[in-house]
């Protein structure tokens, strides 16, 4: 017990004194949130699209104007001729352009905005359809009522992303606690002097785990807090499920890190492999975009990644989506099982001596 207490003290003291590592651990998820969130929010969001309109003199445009204004909350700017419209498009003063010459609708797009144009094209298709009907004095008959089924809280796209980023920071923290921190201790020979004493490796592990759990929990809370204050999001956090899941998934990811450390020869390679795996997972786990838009083989891969399920469970625990209790607890237990199976191996790894 004394050994555990002393090791615990050592672990958190060293963590707090290593200023570089400290800032990194807490800063990293925040940077992620802010950058990626703002960047990718722009994609697919046409609420604030800017349309440039040119109608040559003498062409009747009232119907078109009505159609366009009812097509959504776009801002419309009128131009005096096609060249000035095109120039504005190139300069990105407007997002897409429309020219109505009385016989056809000409939509103009900036070809370099490959990721956004499909959304503008959707609006354009809508305008064409509505305009065609309105032009003949009709309005759509086949109208649609959309009814939302699901949780109240989530409406902003960010709400979907933040739990994913929390999941990613838990993944990194757990993974690198072993394939990073512990492997570095081995490589820097910090463990050598300890394993010739009666110290029980479980005491060291327990100390590392406790500190890591505390750090992860606090870090995710800070991230949530920032998301709620700076990005003005609302979450309905189920604190019990959230806490339990953060704890078990951190442990599970530590188990995963153990797997890497055991399979890789050199301790320093372990952290590199962990880094690579976490980046690959980040792209494929459906955090920033739904996996439905991925080709089927990538979708299958995505369903094999722990991060995908971690993100889903956290979306549930923060009140963004719904999930059956069975599924949530199934994921939680699976994470825990990963830990239970692999962490004892970690204890042995810690005390195993390398061939000198």
């Amino acid at each position: 017990m004394r050994a555990f207490q002393a090791l615990l003290h050592t672990e958190y003291t060293v963590f707090l004194r290593d200023k570089a590592s400290l800032t990194f651990t807490f800063l990293f998820p925040l940077i992620f949130i802010l950058i990626f969130g703002f960047l990718m929010r722009g994609m697919g969001d046409v609420e604030d699209a800017r349309l440039g309109l040119f109608v040559p003199a003498g062409v009747e445009s009232k119907i078109l104007e009505r159609t366009v204004s009812s097509a959504g909350s776009m801002s419309v700017t009128r131009y005096d001729d096609q060249p000035s419209l095109q120039a504005a498009l190139e300069k990105r003063t407007i997002d897409f352009g429309l020219i109505w010459d009385g016989t056809k609708l000409l939509f103009l797009y900036d070809s370099s905005r490959v990721q956004e144009n499909y959304a503008f094209e959707e609006v354009a298709t809508g305008i064409t359809a509505d305009f065609n009907l309105a032009h003949q004095g009709l309005s759509p008959a086949l109208t649609v009522e959309k009814i939302h089924v699901g949780r109240e809280a989530a409406t902003d796209w960010f709400n979907l992303v933040v739990p994913g980023i929390l999941a990613f920071s838990i993944l990194s923290a757990g993974l690198f606690a072993v394939s990073g921190h512990i492997t570095a201790m081995k490589e820097r020979k910090l463990l050598d002097r300890m394993i010739v004493t009666p110290m029980r490796p479980i005491a060291l592990l327990a100390a590392i785990i406790c500190v890591r759990l505390a750090v992860v929990y606090i870090s995710t809370l800070i991230t949530l807090f920032i998301a709620m204050t700076v990005l003005k999001l609302t979450f309905a956090v189920d604190w019990f499920r959230y806490t339990v899941f953060v704890a078990t998934s951190t442990l599970g990811m530590m188990g995963f890190g153990t797997l890497i450390a055991l399979l890789v020869r050199k301790p320093s390679s372990a952290s590199n492999i962990a880094h690579i795996l976490s980046i690959v997972m980040m792209f494929l786990a459906g955090i920033y975009f739904p996996i439905e838009i991925m080709p089927s083989y990538l979708r299958t891969l995505s369903k094999a990644l722990p991060l995908t399920y971690m993100a889903e469970a956290l979306r549930y625990a923060t009140g963004v989506i719904d999930m059956t209790e069975t599924r949530f607890w199934g994921i939680t237990v699976a994470m825990f099982a990963l830990a239970v199976v692999l962490l004892p191996l970690l204890a042995r790894y810690v005390v195993s001596a390398d061939r000198r």
Partner: protein
């Protein structure tokens, strides 16, 4: 023949194989209490592996260890409680303070000395609150010794304790070691430095190729070389006939790296002949020394290699 209860440790038939390689090939020795027992041997002799087995880092493939009156197949945690180990290399967490390191290691043992006392023993009191990353090489070594002594052990392993230390620091370490022995502790030492082995050891065992090739006190070992005296001098050019000639004056003669070593049991006789030879051949006897055989010579005799590669 020592009494059973005068022995700290007895090792019988210890073996450790790595596949085809017989790292430790059946060694046995006994270490009396309150003595310094030194294991000597070139690199690859198996002494590191032997140490690791005795320190409990690895388990042997065969053999028995008897320590603190208990017979064991491998060193257990209970044994570790009463042992102190100074490893050849290993690091401390740079962001910890010296006193925190000692306290941490103290917490691993059921009984431990107060931190102050430990630091005083290794003369690190002024560095009590210093961060590990600010310590010099010698200070780090002393901290490591302190950590090895934190549980006031009766049996202490010191693996190359003075490697990389300057002469002053080395002398300090030697006096720490002899103090410990005088306090009744048993020390198992390994070293590359022949002077150290001679100065500190009560018993020496020489290992090579996984087996013990000689055991005894330094004096017993050097007396294998009989009533010999050794004459050495430096040279830059010596021909085979010269060496043969020199050998005829004494018992043996050899040349190694510019140093000629002549062993003789009749110092005066050989000396006269060598001086005459030197005058005749016009080869000066540069830096000539006359001395008693030392462990290095024993080592060379037994293994054909020098202790220091």
């Amino acid at each position: 023949m020592e009494e059973e209860n005068e022995l700290m440790m007895r090792v019988t038939g210890l073996k450790k194989y790595y596949g085809e390689v017989h790292a430790v090939d059946g060694i046995s020795f006994a270490i009396p209490r309150a003595s310094v027992f030194t294991i000597l041997g070139p690199n690859g002799a198996g002494k590191t592996t032997t140490l690791e087995i005795l320190e409990g880092v690895r388990g042997p493939d065969a053999g028995e260890i008897e320590v603190f009156g208990i017979r064991l197949k491998r060193v257990t945690r209970a044994v570790k409680e009463r042992m102190g180990v100074l490893l050849q290399d290993g690091n401390f967490e740079p962001y910890l303070k010296v006193k925190e390191v000692v306290r941490l290691f103290a917490s691993f043992f059921k009984k431990a000395l107060p931190t102050e006392e430990v630091l005083t023993r290794v003369a690190l009191q002024e560095k009590t609150n210093a961060y590990v990353k600010t310590l010099s090489g010698g200070q780090l070594q002393r901290l490591a010794v302190g950590v090895a002594l934190v549980n006031d052990p009766d049996l202490i392993f010191l693996d190359e304790p003075t490697t990389g230390l300057d002469p002053q620091a080395r002398r300090n370490m030697w006096s720490i070691i002899t103090d410990l022995r005088d306090q009744g502790k048993t020390i198992i030492l390994t070293t590359h430095y022949m002077e150290e082995a001679e100065a500190l050891s009560d018993r020496v065992c020489i290992m090579d190729y996984g087996t013990i090739i000689a055991k005894g006190s330094p004096r017993e070992l050097t007396s294998r070389l009989g009533q010999e005296t050794i004459i050495e001098f430096n040279t830059s050019s010596l021909e085979t006939e010269d060496l043969t000639q020199l050998e005829s004056y004494g018992k043996t003669a050899r040349e190694d790296g510019g140093i000629v070593t002549v062993e003789t049991e009749n110092l005066v006789h050989t000396m006269e002949q060598m001086l005459a030879w030197s005058r005749e051949r016009e080869i000066p006897l540069t830096n000539m020394t006359v001395r008693q055989p030392n462990l290095e010579d024993v080592f060379l005799l037994l293994t054909g290699r020098r202790l220091r590669e």
